[in-house]
C-alpha cells in the first residue's frame, strides 16, 4: 500500500496546481491523503465522482463531529466549526438558505449591475490616476468585493476596511489570529444587528430583520452568524478569483487577444478561468454519516472526506486538454463553487463582479501587462483560498 500523500500542498505558480498534485490525480478518482495534523482523509479528485459525492444523502457538513477533517489550524476554532450554512446539514441549512436565496438570485444580482459598473469605473479611474506600476490587489481585487458585499448587506461604508481586514485575517491568519479576527467580527456584527433591529435600513440585514427576526423565524444570534458567513465568504474568494484571473489572462496572451477581439466571449472566459485557477483548491470538507459507495470504494460512516477542486476541474476523464486554458471551451464545467445543496450562494454575484471588472480593465487598459515576472508574485495559501499578496501591472 502506497503512503497517503500530503494534502493540501502549496502552489508554486498562482494558477497552476502544485507539482505534487500530478501524482495525486493519477491515483484518483478516490484515494487517502494525509492532513497537516497527521490524520488521514478520503480525497475525491474526479469531476463526476465529486458531483456524485456532493449530492449523496449520507454526506454531512457537521464540523463539530470529532472526525471532521481539519485542513489547517485556523479551522479548529469553535467559530469555524459552527459557521451558519457552511457547517450545517438540512433541515436548518435549507431553511436558512431559503431566507437568503431571493437576495442572491440572477434577477437580484442583475439589478445590482449598474451600481457595480459605477463602483468598478471608480476603481479603474484610481488605477489610471495612480499610473504604472499599479498594484491591482490593493487598488481593485481587495476593495471591490468588500465594498459590494457591505453595500448589499447594508453595512456602513466607513466600516468596510474593518471588514476587509478582519475577514482576511479569518481566512488567512494563524489559528490565534483567525479566532481573534472572527470574534472581533462577531462582536461588531452583533452591534450592527442590534442597530438594525431598532431601525432596519434597506440592505439585506435590515430586510432579514423585517422578514425573519421580527416574525420570530430566527433570533438575533442566528442573524449574526448568517451575516458573519456572508461577509467572510464574499470577500476572499471573489478577490482572489479576480487577481488570479487577471494574472492567468496576462500570462496567456493568445487567449487575451481572442477576448480583445471578441468581448462577447467574456462570460465563457470567466467560466474557463474559474475552472482553470480553482481558487478554492479544496471545495468541500465533509464527514460521512452513513456508508457511501463511490468509485468502487466505501467511505464508512464517520470517515472524513475532501474534494479537490484543483484536480476535479482538470479531470482528464471529462476535460480534453484539461491543462490548457481555452476561453471558448465548449464545456468549461467546474466545481469551483462546489456542488450539491451547499453550492455557493453568491456565485452569480461573483460572476457579475468578475465580468464587470474584467470588462472595464480590458477596455480601458488594453495594453496592461505584469510589471514583474509571474514567478516573483508573492503567493499565500494552501488548501483553501489561493491568493497573491500583490499584483503590480504596467501599461
Amino acid at each position: 500500500m502506497t503512503e497517503a500523500p500530503p494534502y493540501p500542498q502549496p502552489r508554486t505558480c498562482p494558477y497552476e496546481p502544485p507539482p505534487g498534485y500530478a501524482e495525486i490525480g493519477e491515483r484518483g478518482p478516490i484515494l487517502k491523503v494525509r492532513l497537516y495534523d497527521g490524520r488521514e482523509a478520503w480525497m475525491i479528485t474526479g469531476y463526476r465522482e465529486s458531483r456524485e459525492l456532493l449530492t449523496h444523502p449520507n454526506l454531512s457538513s457537521q464540523r463539530t463531529h470529532p472526525n471532521f477533517p481539519i485542513v489547517a489550524p485556523r479551522f479548529r476554532s469553535q467559530i469555524a466549526r459552527t459557521l451558519a450554512l457552511i457547517a450545517m446539514d438540512p433541515p436548518v441549512h435549507d431553511t436558512y438558505r431559503r431566507y437568503l436565496n431571493p437576495h442572491f438570485s440572477l434577477k437580484a444580482v442583475r439589478r445590482m449591475r449598474p451600481e457595480l459598473e459605477r463602483i468598478v469605473k471608480g476603481y479603474v479611474d484610481e488605477i489610471l490616476d495612480h499610473g504604472p506600476p499599479a498594484d491591482l490587489v490593493r487598488l481593485l481585487a481587495v476593495p471591490l468585493p468588500s465594498l459590494v458585499i457591505c453595500r448589499h448587506l447594508g453595512v456602513p461604508y466607513e466600516d468596510h476596511e474593518f471588514f476587509q481586514d478582519s475577514s482576511g485575517a479569518v481566512m488567512l491568519g494563524t489559528e490565534e489570529e483567525s479566532a481573534t479576527a472572527a470574534q472581533n467580527l462577531v462582536d461588531y456584527i452583533d452591534s450592527l444587528v442590534a442597530d438594525q433591529v431598532k431601525n432596519p435600513t434597506d440592505g439585506l440585514l435590515g430586510t432579514l430583520v423585517r422578514e425573519r427576526v421580527a416574525t420570530g423565524d430566527i433570533g438575533h444570534d442566528e442573524l449574526v452568524s448568517i451575516a458573519l458567513v456572508l461577509l467572510i465568504a464574499a470577500h476572499e474568494t471573489t478577490s482572489s478569483s479576480l487577481a488570479l484571473g487577471i494574472i492567468t489572462l496576462l500570462e496567456h496572451p493568445d487567449q487575451l487577444a481572442r477576448l480583445h477581439a471578441g468581448p462577447s466571449l467574456l462570460p465563457g472566459a470567466i467560466e474557463e478561468l474559474l475552472r482553470y485557477i480553482a481558487t478554492t483548491d479544496l471545495v468541500a470538507t465533509r464527514i460521512a454519516k452513513g456508508d457511501i459507495e463511490i468509485a468502487g470504494r466505501t467511505i464508512r460512516d464517520g470517515e472524513p472526506v475532501l474534494v479537490s477542486g484543483t484536480l476535479a476541474n482538470r479531470d482528464p476523464a471529462v476535460h480534453g486538454d484539461a491543462d490548457v486554458l481555452d476561453i471558448t471551451r465548449e464545456n468549461p464545467h467546474h466545481v469551483t463553487f462546489g456542488f450539491g445543496i451547499h453550492q455557493c450562494l453568491g456565485q452569480n454575484l461573483a460572476r457579475i463582479e468578475l465580468e464587470v471588472a474584467f470588462h472595464e480593465l480590458l477596455t480601458r487598459i488594453p495594453t496592461m501587462r505584469l510589471a514583474v515576472d509571474v514567478a516573483d508574485l508573492p503567493i499565500l495559501g494552501a488548501g483553501t483560498v489561493q491568493r497573491v499578496l500583490s499584483l503590480p501591472v504596467e501599461w
Partner: protein, 64 residues
C-alpha cells in the same frame, strides 16, 4: 420532452435559468419555475445541460 422541477430541492443556483432561459426562470423567492414544461426539440441540448448542471438535482427531463 417533458420538463419538471422540484422546488423543495431547488437551492436557487440559477444554472437552469442561465442555460435554458426560455424554459426555466427564478421566481421572486429565487427558486426555479418551469416556464415551458414541453419545450421544442431544438431546446433539448440546453435543457439536458440544465438538468446536468443543477447542483441540487431539482431539474428532471422526462422523455416522451
Amino acid at each position: 420532452m417533458k420538463v419538471t422541477a422540484d422546488r423543495t430541492r431547488c437551492m436557487a443556483a440559477g444554472h437552469c435559468a442561465v442555460t435554458a432561459p426560455d424554459v426555466f426562470d427564478q421566481a421572486d423567492d429565487g427558486l426555479v419555475t418551469v416556464t415551458d414544461p414541453t419545450p421544442p426539440d431544438p431546446a433539448r441540448a440546453d435543457v439536458l445541460l440544465a438538468e446536468r448542471l443543477c447542483p441540487s438535482r431539482a431539474v428532471t427531463v422526462h422523455d416522451a
